[in-house]
Amino acid sequence: MDEFQEILQDFLVESFELVEKLDEDLVELENTPEDLELLNGIFRVAHTVKGASSFLNFDVLTHLTHHMEDVLNKARHGDLIITPDIMDVILESIDLMKTLLNTIRDTSADAGIDVSACVARLDKVSNGLEEGESLTSNAPEATVETSAIEDVPAEEEPDYDNMDPDELEAEIERLLNQRQEEDKAKREAKIAAGESVPKAPPAPSEEAESKREPTPAPVSPTPPPATISEAKKESDVKAAAPVNRAQTSVEQTIRVDVKRLDHLMNLIGELVLAKNRLIKINDDVEERYEGEEFLEELNQVVSIVSLVTTDLQIAVMKTRMLPIGKVFNKFPRMIRDLTRELNKKIELEISGEDTELDKSIVEEIGDPLVHIIRNSCDHGIEVPSVRMAAGKSETGTIALRAYNEGNQIVIQIDDDGKGLDANMLKNKALEKGLISEKEADNMSDKEAFSLIMKAGFSTAAAVTNVSGRGVGMDVVKTNIEKVNGIIDIESEMGKGSSMRLKIPLTLAIIQALLVGVQEEHYAIPLASVLETVRISKDEIYTVEGRSVMRLREDVLSLVHIGDIFEVERILDVSEHAYVVVLGLGTSKLGLIVDTLVGQEEIVIKSLGEYLKGIDGIAGATIRGDGGVTLICDVVALMDMAKGVKSTIMDNDAGKESSNEKTKASDYTVMIVDDSKTDRMIMKKALEPIGVTLVEASDGQEALNILKSGEHSFDALLIDIEMPRMDGYSLASEIKKYNRYKNLPLIAVTSRTGKSDRMRGVESGMVEYITKPYSADYLSSVVQRNVNFKSEFL
């Protein structure tokens, strides 16, 4: 009873959430009837509610949702256009579903509501029998009747005709159990309410055989419905509540609003950012004041703060952790029911139910696990006779395990069934047009296995109550990816298959690899990074317009991060590049980046409503220096990589900005010198020829002027000795930019040593004028370097 209550609570919370969302979605659907994504989502909700309710034996609810699902499935496949009339029927059925859920919440049973009228209308819609009769006519109010005895069989009857005797017997027994449970609940409620109740009658056995009365009336010890007044019912419910509360108070816990925990987590996020910043400042200070005594102390404080922050983060994370057992608990019952339904013998082995996961993740993985296990039961494990023939034990085993692996939780579902047939999967996918012939040929077995998670792929020939609509595994993939998890499938024909879900411990704070491309930085979740390799340009080959490289035994396809994120190539690309090997399940991709910055703990922030859903970007984080760094969405990245044209090799050699010069002032020269007098002297020397002059007092300023792009310069006169950034550094900075490759840099300095001249050449200076110089000499050097046309003189 306890266990049932717990599952029931979960079911109700989940269902109410789903239904709430459903309302919004449906209304939106009416406006955009061809939105397949939305339709798929709605369909999945019906599917999930149906699945869960069937395990909890809420037959009326299952019955209703099954028919809803039929209608939605048709719409999803384009066999049905959602008209307002049809929408009315769907909405009505949703309302009915809500009423049912409310009844379940109050009474732990879904009896007493008549859904047949609505189901009939749903059927009509799904069968396309749109006769003159309006669908919306006389929608009867869902009437809550106190007696379920008439209703339940009335709805179930049609199904019995199609059942074989074994199934029927199982069904009857199930109904009896349900009935007894209901009665028991009612009795208990009454006992609690201080009413004396007759002892439970013996379990009926004779009546159960009778076909037409699967829920025999004699079982019911309750007085005739008419005598139960509404007031009594209310008191029943009230009385039942304290019983539940008494059970929970045994646990030594405090209930805390999740919002408070979320707030705490946000604060910790801010703290982690501050910590990162502190570490960065500490590094800077260390560099500047090397050897100073106070550094030691500062170092100690910084490391304590960072240590405590990390501990605090872990501690808060733990408060949000729930044992995965909460999800696992509902599976034994589910397997039991499934074995009966499918006539198979299946044993479930559970281990690691104490493994803890973040609350939000636990909530997300419930659905996927239900689908995976149902799939294993339905498609994986064979029927006993086949198993015997294959030399296996009659009873199939499904093992459900959870364990920690580094920073991740692994949930593993193994079965010893027939395994996946890679070729069969490929053919099926080809048939459905999900992959091309060529793709199928190149596909490894592992890749073929992951086909089962593609939307619209289903291997079951018939639509059963258990699975086979081709949504299940699709839901799995979507939900797992939502929590940044990955799915790994392994299988051996005839031996069984194994599915591993790797899920991060928490969502808010992750380890990331920071990479640089040109002047930008991006963060890649470390969980998806397999390795990094340094390569030189000639290790990159081009195959059919795509870049690839050889990584040990394999050929790895490459894509430049700059091509995906449309980064402007302003800096010259060096001979070497780094390849970050990304792995996601079975697929791998090499991401070429310019630099590797390092590993950092980052706090994920959303980009907000305005920018959400940008391809390839999962969010943003704030770095130690206060800047924003975007986080790559590895899943999307891999998709995008397929459509990106490679431009790694072609270095469009800086478009010459050789604007036609029509007068002397079209030439622009920048004078970079920290001494005002020196600048004045140079100005005096160059003014006579009429060129435009721009002044900068140090290297940094010069670089900023250059970058701002306000002027296009024809030459730079650079002093060497300057504060902030000296002439050599300035020259080498400028030469990093493609478009300044050919900009003449002229050193004007009093340094005359040979080594100084050499450094000048190394850093990219073309001329070296030593102070003092004559005005004419300077002018002639400048004229020569800017190709000054003599007619302007």
Binding site: E520, I614, G616, I622
Partner: protein, 165 residues
């Protein structure tokens, strides 16, 4: 002493009363700014803050007028260049450039404007509808305000904050 205090309090409340009278319904408070050659305005209550420009991070896969995102005290906020959005050529930022942070419900975004003018109080009857040539629900213009010799285009905050790509 307490009498004096009372007097002061009375006086203050009187003043406040006078002010509230002044701010009666038919006056709209706006903040004006310039983009290109024209003056625009948004309701003062929609403005979270106005800040001097600082660095931002470019964002890929977005239209040209979305410059990227920036960090406003721990929140990541999109930055939109209104010059580009209004079809003007981009201009490098100078001393007068400001980031205008607008907020409506949960939507927040920063907008780059050329220059701030002033806070504007304008009577409701002096605000006309958007010109007929710009019609439909798509327009970003809420109305046109006339104040002395100026004409001020009042923008819709929700349209500014709405994603249109």
């Amino acid at each position: 002493m307490s009498d004096k205090l009372k007097q002061i309090i009375n006086k203050q409340s009187e003043q406040q009363g006078a002010e509230t009278l002044d701010q009666s319904d038919d006056i709209v408070q706006l903040v004006g700014f310039v983009i290109g050659e024209e003056e625009y305005a948004v309701p003062i209550l929609a403005i979270q803050e106005i800040i001097k420009p600082f660095t931002w991070t470019r964002c890929p896969q977005v239209p040209k007028y979305v410059l990227g995102v920036f960090n406003l005290r721990g929140s990541v906020i999109p930055l939109i260049d209104l010059r580009v959005k209004f079809g003007l050529p981009p201009k490098s930022h100078n001393d007068e450039t400001r980031f205008f942070v607008l907020k409506q419900d949960e939507d927040v975004a920063g907008f780059v404007i050329d220059r701030l003018t002033s806070a504007i109080r304008i009577k409701k009857q002096n605000i006309g509808p958007a010109p007929d040539t710009i019609n439909g629900d798509d327009t970003m213009i809420d109305g046109v305000g006339k104040k002395e010799d100026r004409i001020i285009t009042i923008l819709k905050v929700d349209k500014l904050l709405a994603r249109d790509f």
